[in-house]
């Protein structure tokens, strides 16, 4: 389950970086459509993968509850990560 949690965190981080607003807080390179597509694609693939991994450990209903709970925690974690990064480098 921990593996699913980590994969999901990575997925959400990529999805957050697929948005210009968040990307420019972290990277110093220009945001392009190519980057957006790559990050978005990778994010969605990892998100699906994290659910698949959760299904290995639990039955479908239980895995879904775990996965949704992880989703909430990971969105908050990515938010805190982005906010902290932005705050640290005084971009907000």
């Amino acid at each position: 389950m921990l593996i699913s949690f980590i994969i999901q965190f990575s997925a959400l981080w990529f999805l957050s970086q697929a948005q210009k607003k968040h990307f420019k807080l972290v990277f110093n390179i220009p945001f392009t459509t190519y980057i957006e597509k790559k990050f978005k694609g990778l994010g969605w693939i990892l998100l699906l993968l994290s659910y698949g991994v959760a299904l290995i450990f639990e039955n479908i209903p239980m895995a879904s509850v775990y996965w949704l709970s992880f989703l909430s925690l990971n969105i908050l974690s990515v938010t805190i990560f982005n906010s902290f990064y932005a705050y640290k480098f005084k971009k907000v």
Binding site: H22, P61, V65, S69, F70, L73, Y87, V92
Partner: protein
């Protein structure tokens, strides 16, 4: 989407939230605490100590029950689990056409009787979150209305935030109100599925209360009759009118249980029906872990032959769906990690509601030249509803340790302390300037949380020492949770004070003294 529609949604979101926000906050705080009902009860009943569990307890318990009475109609053994340290034996005796239940709480190591203090324990928060201590006065209807309003708030909230997905990965941390607004948006997103499931399932649980008309129209006995028709259970046990000695060695049956439930065979309790009858039946209840449904997983055996009896027939799909929502609401299946995750989402929901109430007031006060009583009332209700409620919760724990054990109706007194402190904090919020009241109550909360484990240690150090010795994580974890809660309250207090000081300096420099009062 027409702009008018969005404006209507914003209006509905704002005022539905304001109207019932404090009630929702109280329901969510107590509901969130209910995820740890057995753990809280464990801390509040320290006389129980740290119990060890084993299936070996069953045989000894059966022997003990046999000695209690030879006229028992039914026996029940509740085994201690990782979450609950209650080890109880119950037996029912028929006297003058009435069946009387007798209960004894035991120490699992010595089998000596334990006299536990009179307290509602964590169960108080569980019942409060849906009855509001007004069971006879429509408390469950108020809770139902609150759940309905929460659903409205969730859906209108989606329309209120235009850049729903663009915004939810950042929080602006430099300005207090921007932080609160971003926090409101982010927790709104992350708790969306949680709040929907909790509010919807709350309505489903008491559907018979909120929508009784259909059942009343179709059945003479209303929902009760409908319930009995759609619920499947074991067939009624008919007496053989032949007395036999009860079974007191359950090993063969427990072996069958392990075979039937190979993945997870932990038992919470067992019921022995008609132990002195030839047709006696033993029903074993599995610890909830594998299924979301709140329907107990059981195995029934013939007490005489030890033969596994026919399983309960599956219920109708609609009934099963309701049971799954019921299970999701109570989360009885949740193991520690998932339980903490659900607790975290409960806390996030409380932050969502609390921040919404603060934003409503702040946005209006910023535009106003002169405030009226409504604003003051909302301001004070925010203080009492948020900080006051937390203080009431911690006071309830203090009452548990400080009210003398032999006092009559001490359980009721504990609840009264909770209600009194909550009310007192409301009065206090009117007596002090708003910001000072926030800060003082926050500080008091922090100190109260931090002092409680110390008080526990001073009253009887043996409780904590035994918990450490037996690695009783429920007891230790509760004390740790108190310390962390106290730390968070104090951190928030210092942060708010620092922000307040900065605001004071800024405002003084620009000669807007009136704003200080806001």
């Amino acid at each position: 989407m027409k702009p008018d529609f969005r404006r209507n949604m914003i209006w509905l979101h704002t005022y539905s939230g304001l109207l019932i926000g404090w009630l929702l906050f109280a329901i969510f705080v107590t509901g969130t605490l209910s995820y740890f009902t057995p753990e809280i009860s464990q801390w509040m009943k320290p006389e129980l100590g740290s119990q060890t569990t084993s299936n070996k307890l069953i045989n000894k318990s059966l022997q003990m029950l046999k000695q209690k009475s030879d006229k028992s109609e039914r026996w029940q053994i509740n085994l201690p689990t990782q979450r609950s340290n209650q080890f109880t034996l119950s037996w029912w005796i028929k006297e003058n056409n009435k069946t009387k239940r007798n209960v004894v709480t035991l120490n699992s190591q010595t089998f000596n009787e334990i006299h536990v203090r009179d307290t509602h324990g964590g169960n108080f928060f569980r019942t409060f979150h849906y009855t509001l201590e007004l069971r006879q006065y429509g408390g469950r209807y108020f809770a139902g209305i609150a759940a309905m309003v929460m659903l409205i708030g969730i859906f209108t909230g989606i329309f209120t935030h235009r850049r729903f997905f663009q915004d939810f990965f950042t929080i602006r941390v430099k300005k207090l109100m921007k932080t609160v607004t971003d926090l409101h948006a982010i927790v709104g997103v992350i708790t969306l599925p949680f709040c929907f499931v909790i509010s919807f399932s709350a309505l489903l649980i008491y559907i018979s209360l909120y929508m009784p008309w259909s059942a009343e129209h179709h059945f003479d006995n209303g929902y009760r009759e409908l319930n009995s028709k759609v619920t499947t259970s074991l067939p009624k046990l008919i007496s053989a009118n032949k007395t036999v000695e009860p079974l007191i060695d359950l090993e063969p049956i427990l072996a069958k249980v392990e075979k039937a439930w190979p993945e997870h065979s932990a038992i919470t309790h067992l019921i022995y029906e008609r132990p002195f009858d030839l047709n006696g039946r033993i029903v074993i209840y599995r610890q909830a872990k594998m299924s979301l449904s709140n329907k107990s997983e059981i195995l029934a055996f013939n007490a005489k032959s030890g033969e596994l009896l026919e399983a309960i027939a599956p219920e109708r799909t609609a009934r099963m769906i309701r049971r799954i929502f019921y299970g999701l609401h109570e989360a009885h299946f949740a193991q520690p990690v998932l339980r903490w995750l659900l607790f975290f989402m409960g806390v996030a929901s409380c932050i969502l509601i609390g921040s919404g109430l603060i934003i409503w007031l702040k946005k209006r006060l910023d535009k106003l030249k002169q405030r009226h009583f409504g604003h003051t009332l909302v301001e004070r209700l925010n203080i009492a509803g948020i900080c006051g409620l937390i203080l009431a919760v911690v006071s309830y724990f203090y009452a548990n340790r400080l009210i003398p054990i032999n006092l009559e109706s001490r359980a009721v007194l504990e609840v009264n302390v909770f209600l009194f402190v909550w009310f007192a904090s409301f009065i206090y919020s009117f007596l002090r300037p708003a910001l000072k009241a926030w800060l003082e109550l926050l500080f008091l909360n922090g100190i109260a949380f931090l002092m409680l484990p110390i008080l526990d240690l001073v009253i009887n150090p043996h409780w904590l020492i035994q918990a450490i010795e037996y690695k009783n994580m429920a007891y230790i974890g509760f004390n740790l949770a108190l310390i962390i809660s106290g730390g968070i309250c104090l951190m928030f207090y210092y942060w708010l004070r620092k922000t307040d000081l900065k605001t004071h300096i800024k405002i003084n420099n620009t000669n807007h003294e009136e704003q200080i009062l806001c």
